[in-house]
């Protein structure tokens, strides 16, 4: 298990290979559909993503003791952000994108060019990921986007995932899709 600690250096990110299991520690920020649309429409980034992490997630958050607590924080499907992500990677300097299901070849190319990786979190793993959130340090765009779409500032420990798209241009999803298609054709011939 490789340990990734925020801030993430370009060197540490480029050293990761598709298939590596990782544990993330430190600050990550959530951002999903409304956040990406806001960015594409010219909205000012509410936090500094340089050498940071973006998590495609709409958490269930409750108010507790004057602050916030995360009840469930699993990943949401990433493909919906394909259209926005290459420009976001270039403009923000983000090093780690966490989500579910992978992203397209244009995003993969941007990751290679600017030094960024995609980490697959486990879909449906909301309770375990909520457990790894040690503190909700803040929130941005809450009034504008609502709780499920806001940018939550989460301090995590031991947030586990798999590097599924690396900064060398390899996507585990593409490998698996191609191999399974070959196997299917083989079975259809037999």
């Amino acid at each position: 298990m490789k340990q990734l600690v925020c801030p993430f250096s370009e060197k540490s990110v480029r050293g990761l290979a598709a298939g590596d299991a990782v544990a993330i520690h430190g600050r990550i920020y959530t951002g999903r559909d409304k956040f990406h649309k806001y960015f594409a429409d010219g909205g000012r980034l509410p936090v500094d993503f340089r050498n940071g992490a973006l998590y495609h997630c709409g958490p269930v958050v409750i108010e507790r003791g004057g602050g916030y607590a995360v009840v469930s924080a699993g990943p949401t499907t990433s493909v919906r952000e394909n259209a926005y992500e290459p420009a976001f990677i270039e403009a923000s300097g983000v090093r780690v994108i966490i989500g579910k299901g992978g992203m397209d070849s244009a995003t993969l190319a941007a990751m290679k060019k600017f030094g960024c990786v995609y980490i697959q979190a486990v879909g449906g793993g909301g309770a375990a990921y909520a457990d790894s959130v040690k503190r909700v340090a803040g929130v941005s765009l809450l009034k504008e986007f609502g709780a499920a779409e806001a940018v939550w500032h989460l301090d995590v420990e031991n947030f586990r995932g798999i590097v599924a798209m690396d900064a060398r241009g390899r996507s585990l999803f593409d490998d698996v899709r191609l191999a399974s298609l070959r196997r299917l054709e083989e079975m259809f011939r037999s």
Partner: protein, 277 residues
């Protein structure tokens, strides 16, 4: 005023949302033992099992997408377990944080605060198969990501060289698994309906998801499971030996002009549970 039927139904929702049935946990555990330690598949399955333990211990939803709720109620309970009581239980479970606000008006886009609307939750009154046993209420909670992956084929299908026979059915099912990859949150369970009209196909395929994973599979089911797993898609589509935990097939009569094959995909979070009255 407290109503014991509503309270029991609320408890059923809480349990279903936070803990998986024993047969599903056993299947996930067996899948973990088949994978190489440290592989992506093994790491994903470990996270899944950790997640199940955390959710069960806390009584919190094991997935934030608490999905759509479908109740299957024994016909004999029609007067005791009414749609009104089921709605009251759904509203109570939503207020208690067991269900996400997940019910959207399809025209206005408005979200319902209590998850209750026309057709939500879905309620089916069914005649139990075998006689005997006490009447029961079963609940299936299915997330949107997996529902999006359900498919219907119409035979013959030229692209798959699939004709109107079991070999054609096999091709449809394996094609569905390959197309779905990990997107339905693999390793999942397939419910398959051979025949029926389009509506019955989806209903019957979904109903198969209630069947336990530890029952003895039919020969065709066992073959489909073995072949689907040989595709190597694996947990969350990152490669591995377990792409599906089970395949459940049923058949319904058809008309000469139609031959549908319907595949309902259920994510690994097979949230189903029943209580007896």
């Amino acid at each position: 005023m407290a109503d014991s039927t509503v309270e029991r139904l609320t408890g059923l929702i809480r349990e279903t949302s936070s803990s998986l049935p024993a047969d599903v946990l056993a299947a996930l555990g067996a899948a973990l033992r088949r994978e190489k330690r440290g592989s992506p598949a093994s790491e994903v399955l470990k996270t899944i099992l950790d997640n199940c333990a955390v959710a069960a211990a806390r009584g919190t939803p094991l997935c934030q997408d608490t999905g759509s709720l479908t109740f299957f109620v024994d016909e004999s309970l029609r007067r005791r377990v009414t749609p009104e009581k089921l709605k009251a239980a759904v509203a109570a479970a939503t207020a208690a944080g067991c269900l996400r606000r997940n019910t959207i008006d399809a025209v206005t886009g408005a979200s319902r605060d209590d998850n209750c609307a026309e057709g939500a939750p879905a309620v089916h009154y069914v005649r139990p198969a075998g006689g005997g046993g006490r009447p029961s209420v079963a609940l299936l909670m299915k997330g949107g990501g997996s529902e999006n992956m359900s498919r219907q084929y119409s035979l013959p299908d030229a692209g798959l060289a699939a004709g109107r026979d079991l070999e054609g059915v096999r091709r449809c099912v394996l094609d569905a698994v390959q197309k779905t990859q990990g997107y339905g949150c693999a390793p999942g369970v397939l419910g398959v309906c051979i025949g029926g009209d389009r509506a019955a196909g989806y209903a019957v395929a979904k109903e198969q998801l209630l069947r336990p994973l530890d029952e003895r599979p039919g020969r065709f089911e066992a073959r489909l499971l073995r072949e689907a797993n040989s595709l190597g898609i694996g947990p969350m589509g990152l490669g591995g030996r377990t792409t599906l935990l089970g395949v459940k097939v049923a058949a319904r009569t058809r008309v000469p002009a139609s031959f549908f094959v319907t595949v309902a995909y259920m994510c690994w979070a097979v949230r189903r549970r029943s209580i007896q009255f």
